[in-house]
Amino acid sequence: MSRRAMAIVAAVVVGAALLVGMRVFVNGSGATGSAAKGTVAFSAKTAWGEPNLTGVWRASTLGAGSGRDTFNLAKLEGLYTAEARTRMNGLSANDDPTMRCTPPGFPRAAMLGHPIQIIQRPGFAFVFTQAYPVFRIVPTTGRPHTSAKYLFPTHLGDSTARWDGDTLVVDVISFNGEGWLAGPQDKPTNASTGVWLTSDALHVVERWRRVDAETLEYQARVEDPKTLTMPWETPTVVFKRQAVDRIEEVICRPEDGPATYLARLGS
């Protein structure tokens, strides 16, 4: 073999290695393995070849207060427009919609520290929350949002998603502007009101990624031009797999108040 040919082969190998590396980079490590514990089997890919997000998942309770800020809320607080601040100064904890058992949308739902469940089928992922029980239907084919004819503002918004490598990128629009981005107990600074308004211009882009058999990561980018001067990024929330096949049925009763209600949910 001539040196020239060898050099070309070497170059091709380098190029191929780069390409392969890129493929791995784009597609993720694709960990394989069986369930570490419990009766719930795990495989990195679904039967139809998508990254497998299926499972019951739980993260730590996140928020801000007592000099601690685990959800980047000081940053969020600084992004509110002057007009929104004026409105928020006139509100209090009792105006938090979860006081009426209204389910908080994501990303707030990811702060609660209570289990969620994801179940997939071809073309869809379904997200269930145990606290304030409700479901989200997330098309995963990258199709457009619900057509204008049927699109109307809701608490959880309208979701559509596409796979970006092994990350499910969910685009959520059509919120009704009633939800809060955090809870009244979340006070990252001395000046905090604990009020976290949104508007109907809220737009959330979520990134869901299965890291390994036991771990699911969640991150969201929130923009709301009517209340925030700039987009806000949540930190990465780390969910751990729970060895059960479904979340519990939990009832929210307004008369209990959210503190009692959340306490009653237990662990």
């Binding site: 040196r3 020239r4 784009v26 096949d245």
Partner: protein, 318 residues
């Protein structure tokens, strides 16, 4: 020398191509992840809810819900013309779809009321175990509290979405936005443990008998009412924590699904009760919409007042 130069050039060229490919691929991946700028809807549909959508989803040529129901009841399933869809992962019938309306195609063999134990009467007079009901003889039924419907009572009321997924059947109710997650186990798999607290919807475990999904539901909290009890005219058809339901879900063809259940409750019923067989027609949608159930504070206050008046006026009814 010339050869080395060429080789270096070739390497550089190849590397350039690879880097360009990498850049292009990353760019493409970014572009594919790029989310279009969002413009919020200009006008909110006033008062939009799922009942309004029901008016919109009537099949062409059908004037009313009653007519749609009659058509579904009279429908003859045709699995040759409308082959039963099957899942790609286990080849079992795929229930996925949005269904409405519900039509009874076979009545119950005996009325539910005829099976109630006489000694359960006092318990039923008191409204059963539905703690939190102010006065069951008024308008204060479990449904009013936005409690999840039991499998038998009401979960099949409005538009419903079924989802077949590996190891699960999901039931998503449009009205109330509540849901049931039904794990399905295979013949050789151990049954998952059910450490759940007793609940309104119980704990479900499904298994296949041929093409029929048989779901056993236990672990109820004793609060659901069965049937359409309408106090004060009729005693509530209470259940107990001993209730056990065996449901049979089938898909006769691609246009419909059918549902029947047998209810045992040794504390309430003298013998197992077989429910009517219900059939539902599939709609050309693949998602239900959000429609949350709220206990409106103002309505709640009026309701409490009404219940108090009723109690005062009627004294001890029956």
């Amino acid at each position: 020398m010339k050869v080395r130069k060429l080789a270096v050039m070739a390497m550089l060229a190849c590397s350039c191509v690879a880097v360009l490919a990498l850049v292009a691929a990353i760019g493409a991946s970014r572009a594919s992840a790029q989310i279009r700028t969002y413009t919020p809807p200009k006008t909110a549909k006033p008062g939009a809810d799922w009942t309004e959508r029901i008016e919109e989803i009537l099949p062409p040529g059908v004037e009313s819900r009653a007519e749609a129901t009659a058509r579904i009841a009279a429908y003859k399933p045709d699995p040759v013309k409308y082959a039963v869809p099957r899942t790609p992962w286990d080849g079992k019938p795929d229930f996925s779809g949005v269904y409405w309306p519900d039509a009874q195609i076979a009545p119950p063999p005996v009325p539910l009321e005829s099976l109630y134990r006489p000694d359960a009467r006092e318990y039923r007079e008191g409204g059963g175990a539905a703690a939190g009901l102010i006065d069951w003889r008024g308008i204060d039924t479990p449904n009013y509290h936005c409690w999840p419907p039991s499998p038998v009572n009401g979960s099949m009321g409005g538009t419903v979405q079924l989802v077949s997924a590996p190891g699960y059947l999901l039931l998503l109710n449009e009205g109330g936005s509540n849901f049931r997650i039904i794990p399905i186990v295979g013949d050789n798999e151990p049954r998952p443990s059910a450490p759940h607290k007793p609940s309104f919807q119980g704990s479900s475990i499904g298994h296949w008998e041929g093409d029929t999904l048989v779901v056993e539901v236990t672990n109820f909290n004793g609060k659901p009412w069965l049937g359409n009890a309408q106090p004060p005219k009729r005693l509530p058809q209470t259940s107990s924590d001993a209730m056990r339901i065996v449901e049979r879900w089938s898909r006769p063809d691609a246009q419909v699904f059918e549902y029947q259940a047998v209810i045992e409750d040794s504390k309430m019923l003298r013998a197992p009760w077989t429910t009517p067989t219900d059939r539902r027609g599939i709609l050309p949608y693949d998602t239900v919409q959000e429609s949350l159930c709220f206990l409106d504070p103002e309505l709640d206050a009026r309701h409490r007042e009404f219940a108090a008046q009723q109690a005062k006026k009627s004294g001890a009814v029956r």
